[in-house]
Structures are given as structure tokens and as C-alpha cells.
């Protein structure tokens, strides 16, 4: 197996960045940034669940993320509270509940900072397995539902009238988001997962003439951010997850300085 922890970190980071590109693009197009954020905030609850049930902690996180995704889906159908209020309640409720639950377990000591901001340098071979298996499955499923998902993103009712199984596709997409959020947490931590989803996608926007191009560019930009972040973190001894996000932000800013439409061949966007 892979011995070098830096190589493992690089592979894990690149794996996550590759998956984050296409999913992040949909998150941006469908304005789901807060949705992803809310899911990731429930991770500590998943860790607590893992300890209680004596199951793999990543499985615990995935289960809790899926449950929360279902809960969010139904809660958004009510009209009493605006959806950002709902998401805020769920996000901070889940985070606090997770912290409280862990405090009750006296024999459990976890590295809270690692969960909050990620600990890419401590990625194990089994973590790598999760990233590549989970990420690979998520990507394969996303490619399968790509066209109907684009149609729903353009206009949900129009898609419905034309016979696209809108609810099933939406369910599947939200489930996949929950899965990759749980997996991505290894690298950048629960507080920064959304950053790795949306910043590369937002950067890619200026240079993409079609959805597929944007998804692909977002993946590449994410990979670039991971490499730069790892390098910077190693060079200046800074926390790796945040350094990756800082690198992504820098690339985003640089992207804004590049003349618009440079790679678009006159395609207005």
C-alpha cells in the first residue's frame, strides 16, 4: 500500500477535488450551497452515532447525512419558514447536538479540529478507499442522471411535463450530495466542505461555454487548489484544509483578473 503520507494526502485531495467539480457545479446552478453546508454540519452527530453503534465512523457520517437530506427535503415543502431559516436551524442544531452527544461519551476523545477543518495529512489507506470508492460511485451515478438533472435544473415543471421522473432524480442527486459531503470531510473538514464544492465551480464559470466544460474545469481547478494548498501547507507549516481553501480563493481571484471569454471564442456568457 501507499506508505508516504504526503502521497496519500495528495491522492485523497485530488480524488475529492475531481468529484467536487461536477457536484459543485450543480450545487452552484441549483443554489444548494447552504444545503451542502447543513449536511456537513451534521458530521459530528454521525461520529457520535458511529461510536454508539460501534460502526465505522465514516458509515455513521454517511447515514446521518442521508437522514438529514431526507429531513431537509420534506421540511422544504412546508411554507411556514423560509428555506434558509430552516437550513440554519438544522445546521446549527445538528452541529450542537453532535458536540453535546460526544461530550456525554466520557471514554471518547476525538480530535475536534480534525473534524472541523480536516486532517488530510492523517488520511489512511482505508480513508483513500472511501474517497475513491464513494467518489467513484457518486460520479458514475451523477453521469447516469446527468441529462435529466440538467433538464430539471433548467425548469422543473417543463421536465415534469415531458415525463422526466423529477422526484426520483432529485432524490438521487440529494443522496449523492450527502454521500460525497461525508467523504469529502476527510480532506477539508466539515466547515470547509462547501468551499471545495462551490469555489472551483464558481471559478470555472467564467471560462466555460457549456455545463460539461464547467464541471470539468471545476474539477481541474479543484485539483490545482489541492496541489497548491498541500505545497503551501508543507512550506509554511499551516493547517492543510484551510490552506487548500485559501489556494482555491486565490485561484478564484486570479480567474477574475483574466479577461472574460478568453477561452470562449466569443461565446457570450
Amino acid at each position: 500500500m501507499i506508505d508516504n503520507f504526503l502521497l496519500r494526502a495528495l491522492l485523497g485531495g485530488l480524488g475529492v477535488a475531481l468529484v467536487a467539480g461536477p457536484f459543485g457545479s450543480f450545487v452552484v446552478w441549483r443554489r444548494l450551497a447552504y444545503f451542502g453546508d447543513t449536511l456537513s454540519h451534521s458530521a459530528l452527530l454521525g461520529v457520535a452515532l458511529g461510536f454508539i453503534l460501534h460502526i465505522n465512523l465514516t458509515v455513521g457520517i454517511i447515514v446521518i447525512c442521508q437522514l438529514l437530506a431526507i429531513l431537509l427535503f420534506y421540511s422544504q415543502r412546508q411554507r411556514q419558514l423560509a428555506s434558509d431559516t430552516m437550513l440554519g436551524i438544522f445546521a446549527h442544531g445538528a452541529l450542537s447536538l453532535g458536540l453535546v452527544a460526544l461530550a456525554f461519551m466520557e471514554d471518547v476523545r476525538i480530535d475536534l479540529v480534525a473534524y472541523l477543518f480536516g486532517d488530510i495529512l492523517a488520511i489512511s489507506n482505508s480513508d483513500l478507499g472511501w474517497i475513491f470508492a464513494g467518489g467513484g460511485i457518486a460520479l458514475a451515478c451523477l453521469i447516469r442522471i446527468w441529462k435529466p438533472l440538467l433538464a430539471i435544473t433548467i425548469h422543473e415543471d417543463l421536465a415534469r411535463v415531458e415525463g422526466i421522473p423529477v422526484d426520483q432524480v432529485n432524490w438521487m442527486f440529494l443522496g449523492l450530495i450527502a454521500l460525497i459531503v461525508a467523504v469529502m470531510m476527510k480532506v477539508v473538514g466539515m466547515l470547509l466542505v462547501t468551499a471545495l464544492l462551490i469555489i472551483p465551480a464558481a471559478t470555472a464559470r467564467r471560462f466555460a461555454g457549456n455545463p460539461e466544460m464547467m464541471a470539468l474545469l471545476a474539477s481541474l481547478i479543484g485539483c490545482l487548489a489541492v496541489c497548491a494548498g498541500l505545497y503551501g501547507s508543507f512550506q509554511w507549516d499551516t493547517p492543510t484544509g484551510p490552506t487548500i481553501v485559501v489556494a482555491a480563493c486565490l485561484i478564484f481571484i486570479i480567474g477574475f483578473l483574466v479577461p472574460k471569454g478568453l477561452f470562449l471564442n466569443g461565446q457570450e456568457s
Binding site: 446552478w29 441549483r30 441529462k147 433548467i154 415543471d157 411535463v161 464559470r205 461555454g209 457549456n210
Partner: protein
């Protein structure tokens, strides 16, 4: 009315109640092959809701919606809420619906007079261009019935006349029926076979001429609107009677 044989779509005694609020009451609507039926009414009258029921997007609380078996519907939504970050050209927008047949995309765009925007981003289109592109999108599946939700929204008056002409021409060339919603009164009249005047319930319905003479219509839109419209339907008699059934809701908000 050219309504012979089985209707393409029929809504019978439909009611819709959300919570305690009654949105639609006792709606009957029938559209036959090749027919243009226009639903008019003030804001909040339930026009879009009725379209959603006809399309099967919303289940009525009671009543039935019957569609002819195998009926293909082309739907033109009121607007697109596309995020500016979504990179989508007109060409791709249409190609997604017709299996990347680009020759077909061009011919559809030409049919609606929007071939020049084929490479533009959807978000940069003007109101009239967007409506034409959405119309082309509705034609992709060779529909028997076009359902258009406020097809001239966001278009200036001259463009509105053009769009209604285009819709009539499409009906003539393709022989498809058209069910549309509008809150313009006068422009619609020249290009429709049947009018259904809605204010949560059906105030009146029939040919444009008969509807403009209906006291319920006058009550809903006011005598001034009717006089204005008379120019278009060449009608001499104005009825200024009151109609008890229509004086509810947000009737006179225009």
C-alpha cells in the same frame, strides 16, 4: 367553435382548495383539436394554477382532468429561473430536448424567428427573444397541444402583436391546438377561438365577441376596457350591467 369529436383535453368540475383558501371553483374547460383557447383574468385569478391542473402538475382537490390517450403537450413556462452561473446557449437548451439534432434546432428557431440568437447565452436574451426560444422549445416534441403561460410577458406592445401572429401561424401550419393564459385583453382577441374569463371561477366563456358582451366580463374588467376592445372585435353593443357573481376577489386590479 370547431369542437367536433373527442376533446384533446377536458377539465370537469375541478375545484382546488389550499388550506382554507379556495383557489379554483367548479372549473370546466374543453379544448378540441386545432382550437385556440385563451384564459384571461386579473392577477391572482388562478390562471396559472388552472394551467398547472390541465398539465397534470397540480392535482385538483375534486373534479377530473381527462387527456386524450397519447396526447403530446408542448409546454411553454412563464419564465426561466436560470442561475447566471449556468452556462447554457440557446442551441444547447434546445438540443438537450431533441437528442442533439442541431439541424432541427436551427429549423425550429427559424420557425419562431429566433435563428439569430442560436449561439447566445439564454440569460442574455431580451424578453421577446426568450419567449420565442421558449416557444421553439415547446415545439420540439411536435405537440398536438401547445400550453403557453403568458406567452407575451415582458414584451413591448409591438412585439406582443408579432408574437400572437406567430402563435396563430404556428397553429395554422401545424394544426396543433393552443391553450394559453394571458392578462392582456385586446391583443389576444383577434387570435383566439374561445375565451375563458376566469376569476377563481369561470365568469364567462365563449367566442371573443360573445364574451366581450357578457355583463360578467364588463364587471371584471370595467367598461373602459371593453370599449377599448370593441375596436378590435368590431362590436357595437356595450352592456354595462352588473354581475353579482363576479364582484369578488381581486377583480379590478388592472
Amino acid at each position: 367553435m370547431s369542437n367536433t369529436g373527442q376533446p384533446l383535453l377536458e377539465v370537469s368540475t375541478a375545484n382546488l382548495t389550499l388550506g382554507k383558501q379556495s383557489l379554483l371553483e367548479n372549473i370546466n374547460l374543453k379544448i378540441g383539436a386545432g382550437e385556440i383557447l385563451t384564459i384571461i383574468g386579473p392577477n391572482g385569478a388562478g390562471k396559472t394554477t388552472l394551467l398547472r391542473i390541465a398539465l397534470g402538475l397540480q392535482k385538483p382537490t375534486s373534479g377530473t382532468v381527462k387527456r386524450q390517450p397519447g396526447l403530446t403537450i408542448g409546454y411553454m413556462p412563464q419564465r426561466l429561473h436560470l442561475d447566471p452561473t449556468f452556462p447554457l446557449t440557446v442551441k444547447r437548451f434546445l438540443a438537450l430536448a431533441c437528442k442533439n439534432d442541431f439541424a432541427r434546432v436551427i429549423s425550429l428557431l427559424s420557425e419562431v424567428g429566433a435563428a439569430h440568437v442560436v449561439d447566445s447565452a439564454v440569460q442574455t436574451l431580451s424578453g421577446g427573444e426568450l419567449q420565442r426560444v421558449l416557444l421553439a422549445r415547446a415545439l420540439v416534441r411536435e405537440p398536438d397541444l401547445l400550453v403557453l403561460d403568458e406567452p407575451v410577458q415582458g414584451v413591448d406592445v409591438h412585439g406582443q402583436v408579432e408574437l400572437y401572429k406567430l402563435i396563430s401561424r404556428i397553429r395554422e401550419q401545424r394544426g396543433c391546438a393552443v391553450l394559453m393564459v394571458s392578462h392582456d385583453l385586446h391583443l389576444v382577441m383577434a387570435a383566439t377561438d374561445q375565451v375563458l374569463c376566469l376569476n377563481r371561477h369561470i365568469c364567462c366563456s365563449g367566442t371573443p365577441e360573445s364574451v366581450t358582451n357578457d355583463p360578467a366580463f364588463v364587471e371584471l374588467f370595467g367598461p373602459a376596457a371593453v370599449q377599448y376592445m370593441a375596436v378590435y372585435v368590431h362590436d357595437k353593443n356595450h352592456h354595462h350591467d352588473q354581475c353579482a357573481s363576479c364582484g369578488r376577489g381581486s377583480a379590478n386590479d388592472r
